[in-house]
Amino acid sequence: MKDGDINFKIAPHPWMICSLPLLLISWAYGLFIVPTDIHQGEVYRILFLHVSCAINAFAISAVLFVCSVQCLWKNNTHFSYWGLPIAETGLFWTIFTLITGSIWGKPTWGVWWTWDARLTTTFILALMYAGFMVLWHAADNSSTRNKSCAILGILIFADVPIIYKSVSWWRTLHQPPSILRTGGATMSTPMLMTLLAVLCCTLLVSAALIRYRAQNRQLESQLEQQMFELESSQKGEPL
């Protein structure tokens, strides 16, 4: 083993292990302790999950944007390790935004799905994240792969403000924002605080997942390098 090589442990970092129980505690608070909503009753509790998933998908696109810009601007090699895990986790939360939204839509709106502007633009976000993953695996050269994926990473981020403003720009079935709006939040404080707690815990889980998977990528490329060096030495060629 060379000096520059990193020896990763199998167990995730302690605070990463903590993130999942913390998330479960915040879920339990949202499910059993916070009072019901006067309009929707119990079913509104999906809000905590749905909104957290959505904000995670958006936040991850911002991280992807920063990484992509760094990759294009400074030829940063971090993108080789971080790019794919970020997109994978982003896709995960986007898919669960759509799934939980659909499950919430049936009892409140009366339909599982409708092609309104908010739902359509979120669907496009999922497609773009999936496209990123396809492009990543399709490229045969890591330099062109990084560049083309970084451009797509910037485009993915460009979709997020459209999703956010879709409910204000167009008529939709989806309701406008409850929190970040002119005239103050239209959500009771206990609900808002619970939502923030669930959101923070979800962000923690996301960060842990991305970091762990990025380390896997790093380990993988390290292994490839070692294999390559072994092969070269077996052939008796100078390194």
């Binding site: 916070v34 009072p35 019901t36 909503d37 006067i38 309009h39 929707q40 009753g41 509104y44 809000l47 294009l72 601007w73 009892p107 409140t108 709106w109 009366g110 339909v111 409708t114 092609w115 309104d116 502007a117 359509t120 633009t121 496009i124 560049k147 451009i151 910037i154 485009l155 460009a158 459209i162 204000s168 720009w169 167009w170 008529r171 939709t172 079935l173 309701q175 406008p176 924002p177 409850s178 709006r181 239209t186 959500m187 009771s188 206990p190 609900m191």
Partner: protein, 149 residues
Amino acid sequence: MHKKTKLLAGGIIIIATILLMSVLSLQQNTVYFYTPSEAMAQKSSLSHKKIKIGGIIQKGSVDWQAPALSLRFVVTDTEDTHIPIEHTGTPPDMFKEGQGVVVDGRFNTDGSTFMAETLMVKHSEEYQIPSEGKSMNTDLLKKSILEKE
């Protein structure tokens, strides 16, 4: 020109194009729903098309015949336009007088009633705990359905 600059310029152009295209296409083609006033004004051109109408369920207009699954009500907006709606099927739990609604269907042959195939409740962005004892903020609901920035 430097390679990086070219790449950046290309990226910006692609972003701008996609943003512009999506904004334009959504504005032109996807009028998600018409308000009752718009639907009445364009009734002759819309009469044979499958459209969506979104508005407020008028107070005192709901007639629900559970055994026949027949639902009749009137949808209205801020401009005092009233459209009678007919729908077959159980409405969602949140369907009630004064609530927002989006109906998908078409006008009947004489244009007097809108036959809704799909009925969707459009609620406002308000979430309140019961102890605060407030009733539904109707102004907020109207704004959320009928007014855009």
